[in-house]
């Protein structure tokens, strides 16, 4: 018993879940227990988007310092618009639309990798440059786009099992579990960790650095594409700024979840915990009747405080 508690305490992801539960408890206490279950349902549903994007960003961040995908918001905006336009509100085109969104994301990832490889620039700059062009494409492509998502897809996003458990959340949990296996049990996952710990050593040890980087950036971008399609379906259509919150959120869930921003150390469950924590935190502040400006400010302060407390990376 004590041994397993001790094991739990040493897991980097545990703190994000502890934080999520604490924030949830405070919220429930504030409303005297009303809607405790509904809050969990909402948190599970909304976290789906953060988790999908966050896991992609986690793989990118894990490949070492300077590796961050800044093109995620633009990617989400473009993929969401593509998905809605291809689906054209028809249930029969849902699969085609999802494939189109994944394809769009993949292409953005391809563009990112090409810039990193050809221009030999830090990934932050490469993905930033790419995001300018992707965002512009999204603006030009999505202008005046008013296509409602297919009813079946919207219904699927809202589908709940008895007890209020969203099906999409269960699927995302299964996806996260699969990603744990990919990270810890496959050659690709071990390569990502090895490169993050030392690019040079990994290269000398024969790890296929270029190929791993290619897979990582395209995986992250493809997941952002998927998230864009789901987000558009969930919010009744694509909008140009719907990806914007994900710049901070994708990095925040990764770091709060116990993944090292210096690379080489990743944590999948933590992404879930951090996503739930962030959503429940905003819910708590809303319940307290905090104004929107104050809410933003407190969110920022709390994120910085968590990083500062957890901080102390040996390498920058």
């Amino acid at each position: 018993m004590i041994a397993s508690l001790d094991w739990l305490r040493r897991q980097p992801w545990i703190w994000s879940f502890v934080g999520a539960i604490a924030v949830w408890a405070v919220t429930v206490a504030l409303v005297e227990g009303r809607g405790a279950g509904a809050t969990v349902t909402a948190a599970l549903t909304f976290s789906v988007f953060y988790v999908i994007v966050g896991i992609g960003q986690m793989f990118v961040v894990t490949t070492g310092p300077g590796n961050v995908d800044l093109s995620i918001p633009a990617n989400i905006a473009l993929s969401g618009a593509v998905a809605m336009k291809v689906m054209n509100g028809q249930d029969s085109l849902i699969v085609v639309g999802l494939v189109a969104a994944l394809g769009t994301g993949f292409c953005v990832g391809l563009f990112n990798v090409a810039l990193i490889r050809v221009l030999m620039i830090p990934p932050i700059i490469a993905t930033l440059s790419a995001s300018f062009i992707v965002q512009s494409t999204a603006i030009a492509y999505g202008r005046g786009l008013r296509v409602k998502p297919p009813a079946a897809l919207s219904d699927f996003m809202e589908w709940r099992l008895p007890g209020g458990i969203p099906v999409i959340a269960l699927l995302t949990i299964a996806f996260a579990a699969a990603m744990v296996v990919v990270l810890e049990r496959t050659a690709y996952g071990r390569s990502v960790l090895a490169i993050g710990q030392s690019d040079r050593v990994a290269r000398l040890a024969g790890v296929p650095v270029a190929r791993t980087r290619f897979v990582t950036y395209t995986l992250c971008a493809t997941l952002a594409g998927l998230s864009g399609a789901l987000l558009a379906a969930f919010s009744g259509g694509a909008s140009l700024d719907m990806g914007q919150p994900f710049l901070l959120a994708s990095i925040a869930v990764v770091v709060i979840g116990g993944t090292s921003i210096a690379g080489g150390k990743a944590n999948v469950p933590g992404v879930w915990g951090a996503a739930l924590f962030l959503f429940l935190l905003v819910t708590m502040l809303n319940t307290m009747g905090v104004s929107s400006g104050m809410r933003q400010m407190l969110t920022g302060v709390i994120i910085i405080a968590i990083i500062a407390l957890a901080g102390g990376e040996k390498t920058r």
Partner: protein, 337 residues
């Protein structure tokens, strides 16, 4: 960031010779990009080639130049500031409210904002935190504060500020005069002063600077305070032009400032920065935005053109680097056959 590269490449007389050519090419690249886009605009619209035309064309460049310099100071030490847009927006809201109505309080708030920037630098240094995450959190703080100061768009900038930004100096339009002045001051402060060399050295090899007895805490706080000061100037000049503000008036400044600084030759590692380049980069970014309207193209592609120019310049730089690497390999080959 974490990789400790060898000694920073400080410009010096010792390196004159064959290696100086690629360096010279790299240095003129930002100016070249600006010249090309300016010439293109002049060809499309000859009337732009006048005092009035340039004034109009570069109208919004002054706040962008300041924001880009703010970013450049952070890049100097190898960090990235994702809160520039938030900080400039906050300053803008303070400018159209407190600064206009209670100037003393307004000035105090702005000084506080600079102090907060220095504190962020201190926090990053003391706790060894990733700057990108901390400044991302700070962007929430700044935007939140901006909403608190000015919940709905409006306000009015102080009259002296509006008058200052509308000033028409003889011969040289104000945006160009300002750009020249800012570039000169930035260059003297960072590139020629002795502490400027320490600041850049800290970006190149923090450990050796610390071993030499300089406080890295002081270095980071100085650079962050300088960035904060530039952010304040950016917000003030912005409201001087727009006369009113809203809480996310400078949302896009974060990305534009990074693009401008990188375009101007700043690099992530090695403390390689250039104030003159950053000013040129910011001007290029401003012109890129208005370039489309001369081509009668949809403004939807405005951001895209900025991205394309950035990629083009980076591609040219990569080409120069590859060429100089090949040249130096060939030299090494002939020296030791």
């Amino acid at each position: 960031m974490s990789d400790s590269r060898p000694v920073p490449a400080l410009p010096g007389r010792a390196s004159l010779g064959a290696a100086a050519v690629p360096r010279l090419l790299r240095a003129i690249l930002p100016g070249l990009a600006l010249a090309v886009i300016l010439v293109a605009i002049f060809i499309l619209q000859p009337r732009a080639m006048s005092y009035f035309g340039l004034n109009l064309l570069l109208n919004l460049s002054i706040p962008i130049v300041f924001a880009t310099l703010a970013q450049m100071f952070i890049l100097t030490v190898g960090d990235l500031d994702l809160s520039v847009g938030g900080m400039v927006s906050f300053v803008a809201t303070v400018s159209v409210t407190y600064l206009a109505e209670q100037p003393v309080l307004g000035v105090a708030i702005l000084i506080g904002a600079i102090a907060l920037y220095a504190c962020v630098g201190a926090l990053i240094e003391l706790r060894r935190l990733p700057a990108i995450v901390v400044t991302l959190g700070m962007s929430f703080v700044w935007f939140g504060l901006a909403v608190l100061v000015l919940p709905s768009p409006g306000g009015r900038a102080p009259e002296w500020l509006i008058a200052l930004m509308a000033w028409k100096p003889p011969v040289i339009p104000l945006p160009i005069l300002a750009a020249l002045l800012i570039a000169a001051i930035g260059h003297i402060a960072l590139m020629t002063s002795s502490y400027g060399a320490i600041l850049r050295g800290a970006g190149g090899n923090a450990r050796s600077i610390a071993r030499a007895g300089w406080s890295m805490l002081r270095v980071r706080m100085t650079l962050y305070a300088l960035a904060g000061f530039m952010g304040v100037l950016s917000g003030l000049s912005l409201t001087g032009i727009t006369t009113s503000a809203d809480s996310n008036i400078a949302l896009r400044y974060t990305l534009i400032s990074i693009a401008g600084a990188i375009l101007g030759g700043s690099e992530f590692v090695g403390g390689r920065v250039s104030p003159i380049g950053a000013v040129l980069g910011a001007l290029t970014m401003t012109l890129a935005a208005s370039f489309l309207s001369f081509l009668r193209l949809s403004p939807d592609w405005q951001i895209g053109v900025q991205g394309a120019i950035l990629i083009l310049v980076l591609a040219l730089r990569a080409l120069i680097n590859a060429w100089s690497a090949r040249a130096s390999r060939r030299r090494a080959g002939t020296a030791a056959p």
